[in-house]
Amino acid sequence: MYRIDFNKLRFLVCDDNPHMRRILRTLLHSFGAREVNEAEDGATALEMYTHFSPDIVITDWAMPIFDGLELAQMIRQPEAKGNPYAPIIMLTGHSEKRRVTVARDAGVTEFLAKPISAKGLYQRILNVVANPRPFIKTKTYFGPDRRRNTNTAYIGPERRVGGEAEIFQQPSLLDKARSAV
């Protein structure tokens, strides 16, 4: 059985609704988190993201100025100054299949449909902490691996082309991002 030391995690919560921010803050603090930064729109969240380098982002979808989807797309810029790899949990009232697919394709790590529950939120956080997925970069996508299973026989659209892998190491972008702050 694993536990998370929440007091070592930095959260960025983005929701335009003050009641939902209060609920999220209450849940995260009850889990043990100390650092919970809050933004009420995507633009402010992006600024705070660069400034605070949170470990985990929890964002609503529907917000003014720019929304949670655009926030995810802005964070998932491989050449961006900030860390493009931070887990993003989208917490939203949207629950339709097409919405989940759009969020996934924007680089969202986990999707949590409202109404929120302590258990649902905890499980998503545990998942991003304990089971991070590799990142995939293609011409049109940069984000966590969208395949949740290891089926190599996938023959649908956008299938990856294999071949021999060329492997190289590079300095951590996370280090680069943090040193820039």
């Binding site: 059985m1 536990r3 070592k8 009850s30 009232g93 409202k114 991003v128 190491q169």
Partner: protein, 194 residues
């Protein structure tokens, strides 16, 4: 968190994509707990949420009033895009929050209203009663909570509104297959609500 130096990233390059892996930067916040460890963070959080419940009525009043004002503004501005957007956000917030606040029927009605705003081809051609019935139902459920707290009354109200809204949406989207598909599709995401 972990202000420790993050390890190097490994990139495997293939013909069409790169696979980027790095040792888990959050691994250090995970610890193995003893089976006898009685700490239950979920129960703690649920208790804290229950501690907020005394404020839920006033929060729900605020949300319902915001929706009513939003709708009034839509009418006043003759369906201005920004006003419609704000009304959608107000309904969408109720859809997402109301069940947490103890008003699941209000969430259902708000969901139906969101579907109308999302899928009606022309909002100004939606029968005014359809909007009004949704907005008024949410007000009734919230402000007359005792009466509408009866699961049968509130559920029946939301079910009927949803049926009327869906009938309308199916009718006006009969030549818009992508909307029709979305209207008829079931919700994919199961709720985590106990």
């Amino acid at each position: 968190m972990a202000k420790d130096k993050a390890p190097a990233i490994q990139v495997k390059s293939y013909a069409s994509h790169h696979v980027i892996t790095q040792p888990n930067p959050l691994k250090k916040v995970l610890r193995r707990a003893d089976e006898k460890d009685l700490d239950d963070p979920i129960a703690r959080a649920e208790a804290a949420l229950a501690g907020l419940s005394g404020e839920f009525k006033s929060w729900m009043d605020t949300e319902a009033d915001r929706l009513s004002k939003g709708y009034a503004n839509v009418l006043r501005t003759n369906f201005d895009d920004d006003a419609c957007e704000e009304m959608f956000r107000a309904a969408h917030d109720i859809k997402g929050d109301a069940a947490t606040f103890g008003y699941p029927a209000a969430a259902e009605v708000a969901d139906s209203l969101c579907r109308i705003i999302e899928h009606a081809p022309d909002l100004d051609k939606v029968p005014a009663e359809l909007f009004e019935h949704h907005v008024n139902a949410i007000q009734a459920i919230v402000h007359d909570h005792t009466k509408y707290h009866s699961p049968t009354v509130a559920a029946e109200l939301s079910r009927r509104l949803r049926r009327v809204a869906d009938d309308y949406l199916i009718q006006v989207n009969r030549n818009r297959p992508e909307h029709l598909e979305a209207i008829l599709a079931p919700s994919l995401v199961p709720s985590d609500q106990p």
